[in-house]
Symmetry: C2
Subunit: 337 residues, 2 copies
DNA sequence: TTGAAAGCGCTAACAT
DNA sequence: ATGTTAGCGCTTTCAA
C-alpha cells in the first residue's frame, strides 16, 4: 500500500499538483487561488489523510527541518535534561532532533558531523571535543548554523552558550576555605577543553587569593574513557594516599557520583571534617546524607539560549553579510548544603 | 559553495554517473567495472571528499536509514541509558536515531508517529501509550518494522521486549513480607498500560499468597503529569494519613526518588521499621543511607534485544509472507540492599 | 487564477 | 564494461 502523493490529491481534486502544493504550503492566498478551490482540496487532503513526503520536500528545498545534536553522552543526566528541553522547543518550531554521543572521541565526533552532513541537517548543536575546530569551521564557512554549548574551542568564532565555570569553582573553593579547609583536592576529567581548564583555573585562583599554596598532589585527573571500576580504583588510591585532604571539588557530576561511591567503600564519613562539592547538581546530592553541595548550572537557561540561537540562525538570511556570533555566558550558582 | 554531487565526480573522472553510483554502492564488482576504473574513481571521491546526498538517496530508494525512537521521557535515566545503547548499536549498523518523548500524552505520541512517517523513517522503536493501538497497527499493516519495549498494548501483535514486571514486584513484596512487614503500600503512576497493571498484580498476588489482605488505602496513584511539587504533596499526604505503613514499593524509579525526597522532608527514618523498594534501579538507591532495594531491569539486555529485533525486521524481505512476531520476556532481578 | 514542466541528486532498468 | 535515461515526490518559475 503505497502512501499517497501530491499527484493522487491533484487527481482526486481535478486540479494540478501545483495548486495542491500551493495550498499545502499556505501560499494559496498569495497565489490568489479561489476560496472554494482551497476548501475543496483541503477537504480531500483531510479525508485521505495525506501527508507530504518530507524527504522529497527536503531534496527540493535543500532543507530537512532537522537539527543534529552532538553531545558527550546522552545518558548523562545533565545532557539528557538539556536534550529533552531542546527537543521540546525544537519540536514546537517544526524541527526534529537527531542526536548522537561522542564519548569525547574525536574520530567519532568527526564521523557524526560527516554523517549529519550527508543527511543534510539544517543546523548543528554541538558539545565539542578538542580537534573538531576544522570541521566546525567548515560548517561555518558553508553558512551552516552551529551552536556549541557546555564548552568552547579556542580560536573558533561560533555561537556559543557557556557557563562561567571559573567563577563557579572559585566560589566553591572560596566557600570551602571559609569553612577552614586547608587541603582542598580537585578531581577532574582529562578532557582538554577550555571549560574544564577554567574549572581548574577557578580552583587555583581561589587558593591563590586566599594565600593557600596549591599542591600538584591534590589535583587528580581521571581519563574520560575510564570504566566506573577504573575510576573507582584511581579515586580510592588518590584519597588513600592523600589522607590530609579535608575537602574535594569534583569537576563534573558523574565524577562526584563516582567519588561518593568511593567514599562509601572507604567508609569515609562526610561530616564537617571532609566536605564534598560537585560541579553540576544532581538529585543524588540532595538526597545524600549528608547533602552534597554543588555548583549548579542553569539547565533551562542553557537549553533556552541554545535553541533560540540556533532557530535565529536557521531563520537568518545567509545571503546577507554574516551576522556576528553570539556568545552567551551564563552564571552558575553555588548551592551550599 | 555548493556541495559536490555525483555529477561532479563523474565529470572529473570522465565517466558516467552510473559508474560512479555503482562504485559508491559497492556494485562495481557485480557490474564488472574494471579495477583501474574503480580505483581512479575512488581516488577522486577521496580527494574531493565527496559524500553522497543521503536525502536524494532516500527519495530514490525509499529508505532513510533512520529509526524513530519514541520513549516516555528521554530525560528519565532508564530511558536515557537505553537510548544511548540503542543509538550506539544502530550507529554501528549505519542507522541513525531520531527520538522524541511522548510524556505519556496520546496526542503527542500520535503526532510523533505522523511526523516520523513524513520523514520516512525505516522503523520504529516505541514505548507505547494507551490509545496508540491503531497507529501502530497501521504501521504494521504497511509492513513497517516496529518494536515496542517497556510496555505492551493488549490486542496488538508486535515485536516486543518486555520485562516480567509481575514477577519483579511479587518478589519484592514477598521479601518485604518475609521481613515481617504487614502494611505494604504500593505507589504507582496512573498510566494505563499492561506493565503498570502487572506491577500492581504482582504486588496483590504476593499479598494474597501470604494471606495478607490488601487494602485499597495502601494503593496510591500519582498522575504522570504531576509536577514534582504535586507529587510531593500527594505522597506526603498519603504517608502521613497512613501511618501504619511499614514498607512501600514504588512502581517506577522517578516515583521512588520523589518518595525519598518526601521521606526526607517528613523526617521519616528509613531503618528496618520502614522499608522502601523501587521498581527500577538508580545510582541514588545505592548511595542512599540506608541503601534502597530495587527491582532491577536488565537495561543492556533490553537494548540489545530491541535493536536486534528491529535490525532483523529492517533486513527482512517483506514481500515474503509475514514472519511471526517476536515477544521477548526478560527477567527482572530483586536487589536486596 | 491555474497549469506545465524543470529539476533537486541519486539509483537502476535498459541500452549499447 | 559503461552510458543513457526515467523517475522518486515535491517546489517554483514561467506561461497561459
Amino acid at each position: 500500500m503505497k502512501p499517497l502523493s501530491i499527484k493522487d490529491i491533484a487527481k482526486k481534486a481535478n486540479v494540478s499538483i501545483t495548486t495542491v502544493s500551493f495550498i499545502l504550503n499556505g501560499k494559496a492566498e498569495k497565489m490568489r487561488i479561489s476560496q472554494e478551490m482551497i476548501l475543496k482540496v483541503e477537504k480531500i487532503i483531510q479525508e485521505l489523510g495525506f501527508k507530504p513526503n518530507q524527504v522529497a520536500r527536503s531534496l527540493r528545498t535543500g532543507t530537512t527541518k532537522t537539527i543534529g545534536l552532538i553531545v558527550e553522552d546522552i545518558s548523562n543526566p545533565f545532557f539528557a535534561a538539556i536534550a529533552r528541553l531542546i527537543e521540546d522547543k525544537a519540536y514546537k518550531h517544526g524541527y526534529k532532533i537527531i542526536y548522537s554521543s561522542t564519548e569525547n572521541d574525536l574520530e567519532k565526533a568527526k564521523g557524526l558531523i560527516r554523517m549529519f552532513k550527508t543527511r543534510q541537517v539544517d543546523g548543528y548543536i554541538i558539545v565539542p571535543v578538542t580537534g573538531l575546530e576544522e570541521e566546525i569551521q567548515d560548517l561555518l564557512n558553508n553558512n551552516t548554523p552551529v551552536v556549541v554549548f557546555d564548552r568552547s574551542l579556542p580560536g573558533l568564532d561560533v555561537n556559543s552558550v557557556l557557563v562561567d565555570c571559573a567563577a563557579g569553582t572559585y566560589a566553591a573553593v572560596e566557600s570551602l576555605i571559609k569553612q577552614g579547609k586547608k587541603n582542598i583536592a580537585f578531581v577532574t576529567v582529562d578532557v582538554d577543553v577550555q571549560q574544564i581548564k577554567d574549572r581548574y583555573a577557578g580552583y587555583m585562583n581561589a587558593l591563590k587569593d586566599s594565600g593557600i599554596k596549591a599542591s600538584k598532589k591534590l589535583h587528580q585527573l581521571i581519563p574520560f574513557s575510564s570504566t566506573p571500576d577504573e575510576t573507582a580504583g584511581l579515586l580510592k588510591n588518590f584519597f588513600t594516599k592523600n589522607a590530609e585532604i579535608d575537602a574535594v571539588l569534583f569537576a563534573t557530576n558523574y565524577l562526584a557520583v563516582r567519588g561518593l561511591f568511593c567514599f562509601k567503600e572507604l567508609n569515609k564519613t562526610l561530616n564537617g571534617d571532609f566536605k564534598v562539592i560537585s560541579y553540576d547538581d544532581h538529585d543524588i546530592f540532595k538526597l545524600h546524607s549528608p547533602e552534597i553541595s554543588a555548583v549548579d548550572q542553569p539547565i533551562d537557561e542553557i537549553a533556552e539560549n541554545v535553541i533560540s540561537l540556533i532557530l535565529k540562525d536557521l531563520a537568518a538570511d545567509h545571503t546577507l553579510e554574516k551576522a556576528p556570533f553570539n556568545q552567551v555566558l551564563l552564571k552558575s550558582r553555588l548551592i551550599s548544603r
